[in-house]
Symmetry: C2
DNA sequence: TTGTAAGCGTTATCAT
DNA sequence: ATGATAACGCTTACAA
């Protein structure tokens, strides 16, 4: 019924194809393809012609066709343990900002701090043959580990630093961050120091460990002053734990919270109960979240380079995907203690 | 050099293809395809055979090939104006939770409250031939509108309710929410009521409009008491605007903030300056973000059904994509005034 | 109900 | 440096 011969140069869908661009530019499709991909072997003159033609037709590659022809998807999978924590948002934004301009599609998976969920996401997303993987931390199920290994997909680990070899990671030492908080409180003369952590993911635990070790070195460690709960971190929980701690151990005069939302909740609760911060008890948070600098009193916190971690991890992955040798497999992005009024 | 004839049944990549599954099952590729897609016209017996074969080979479709052949991807694009606002996180999570189990890949785009950026994202993502679109609000560039229209991709608009016809949307009336805040403050006896908004996206403006109209009806509208800034909403900014307003208009005794982070900042700043809330000035926020209930004093706010909106919008889109008739094109999910201690 | 044939839009390969 | 040709793995016609 349809008399139109459907040769390569005849539009079928509403979208312009590479062949049309090529025709308009007066070259072959493959040359157009090369020109658009910035392959060096094309004459500058032709490149320009093709680019003009592409613009005129408003051409956009068909990613499906490209992926099929090249046997390479252009997607990168990013797995984070939480989104309700603003922490990871900054990192994701940074990742997007480096990967998207390079033509990568980024798939975000949130595993809600659950090992099983991470494993599932991994299984599902690996089916898309992603070009790269951006994962959070090192704590995962054995079979997740195996899937990553077997998939052979380049992978960069974010947030923490691994002692092991051959792993690409971008982050900072969680233990050292914990130790820094401890040393700061000690140096200010606080004597009875507590650590309060929620969520109990590996990094929270590591922070606690660093805190504890520094306390032990200073001969100030009291195991009773560690309050840990697997409940998700939140402002409300912070207030609750603070109250609980101050009731059970009134001598506490300094607290390091594993995350700023907990610390913020503590500050608010302290205000509510008339407990003076930092006079009666000092408070130090972690991550330096947006509101912290505006709390009453302004919250001291450890600022983490979340944005930089995302950017660097993505750049590192770009290298790996390109097959470039990796100069620095482990990149320590550090952290910064922000001393404000709460400690 | 390579002697292997590359016919349809010879493995090239590491992954099994549909043809291999078909061969193992003893059927033609197209039958295997139909069986795997659950197309009714295939004999139950064959379906089972094919499924077994697929499982044995650990077959997973190649999404690129599928997309290319069918001119349809399995991806849904979600565009939000911000991620640093916890608001949209809840919505995204809900969307994920309904779309992922149905086999859809969800692509998130953040346009940072920029019309241009939204237009760009749309252009780029539309290249993926997404099956569906989930967009935020109705305020966008003319060419973005045209692209959506021209793409012919099913689309559901979130967060706001449109007066127009033929649009699928899930949200609540922003104006009515603003009016509710006004009526509440009026009913409590506050006289000099201000609206403070940042970001100035359409919904913030609409909220302000609803607030103003309710004030006008009550004969309490004072145009001087509207403080609007395009700067991004944040706790810090909230404190700043609060101070500015209280200095320039000391008579103000009630403020409605366009977002909770602003209101939280105001509360903190009030505390810092010794301004009593709600005695000297009442404060009402918007969105009821996580920390608000724990502020000092506990913040009154309008709770928005962000999670429900995400879920419903995704379900609605599922219907549209399946070609089902849409029973309710516009779904009002309402909102709830949470009266606490700040008003 | 099943199969055949022909693309989908791009890129790899191998010529020229 | 450019081009012809043949895939890539799947699905849409259409035929049987």
């Amino acid at each position: 019924m349809n008399p139109t011969k459907n040769d390569k140069n005849t539009r079928t869908t509403g979208r312009p194809t590479l062949s049309e661009v090529a025709r308009l530019a007066g070259v072959s499709p493959i040359t157009a393809s090369r020109a658009l991909r910035g392959i060096s072997s094309v004459a500058t003159e032709l490149v320009e012609k093709v680019q003009r033609a592409a613009e005129e037709l408003n051409y956009v590659v068909n990613p499906a066709a490209r992926a099929l022809a090249s046997a390479q998807s252009h997607s990168v999978v990013v797995l984070v343990p939480s989104l309700s924590n603003l922490l990871f948002i900054d990192t994701l934004e940074a990742i997007h900002s480096v990967l998207r301009p390079r033509g990568f599609e980024v798939l975000i998976g949130n595993y809600h701090y659950s090992r099983d969920e991470e494993e599932n996401l991994l299984r599902n997303y690996l089916a898309y043959q992603p070009r790269g993987l951006l994962l959070t931390g090192f704590d995962r199920s054995e079979s997740a580990r195996r899937m990553i290994e077997a998939s052979n997909v380049p992978c960069v680990y974010m947030m923490d630093l691994d002692p092991g070899a051959g792993v690409n990671c971008v982050g900072f030492s969680q233990q050292s961050a914990g130790a820094t908080a401890a040393k700061h409180l000690i140096s200010r003369g606080y004597k009875h120091l507590a650590y309060v952590g929620a969520q109990l993911d590996q990094r929270t635990l590591l922070r606690g460990e660093g805190f504890r070790q520094a306390l032990q070195v200073a001969g100030r460690y009291d195991p009773d002053l560690e309050l840990l709960t697997p409940r998700p971190s939140s402002v409300g929980l912070g207030g609750e734990l603070f109250l609980q701690l101050m009731h059970s151990h009134p001598q506490v005069d300094g607290i390091f919270f594993g995350n700023d939302d907990l610390a913020q909740g503590a500050l608010l609760e302290a205000m509510r109960c008339g407990i003076k911060v930092p006079e009666q008890v000092a408070v130090v948070g972690f991550n330096d979240l947006p509101g912290s600098a505006f709390m009453v009193p302004r919250l001291s916190s450890i600022r983490t380079p979340r944005e930089a971690i995302g950017r660097r991890a993505a750049e590192q992955l770009l290298n790996l995907m390109a097959g470039n040798p990796v100069a620095q497999p482990v990149q320590d992005m550090g952290f910064e203690l922000m001393v404000r009024d709460s400690s």
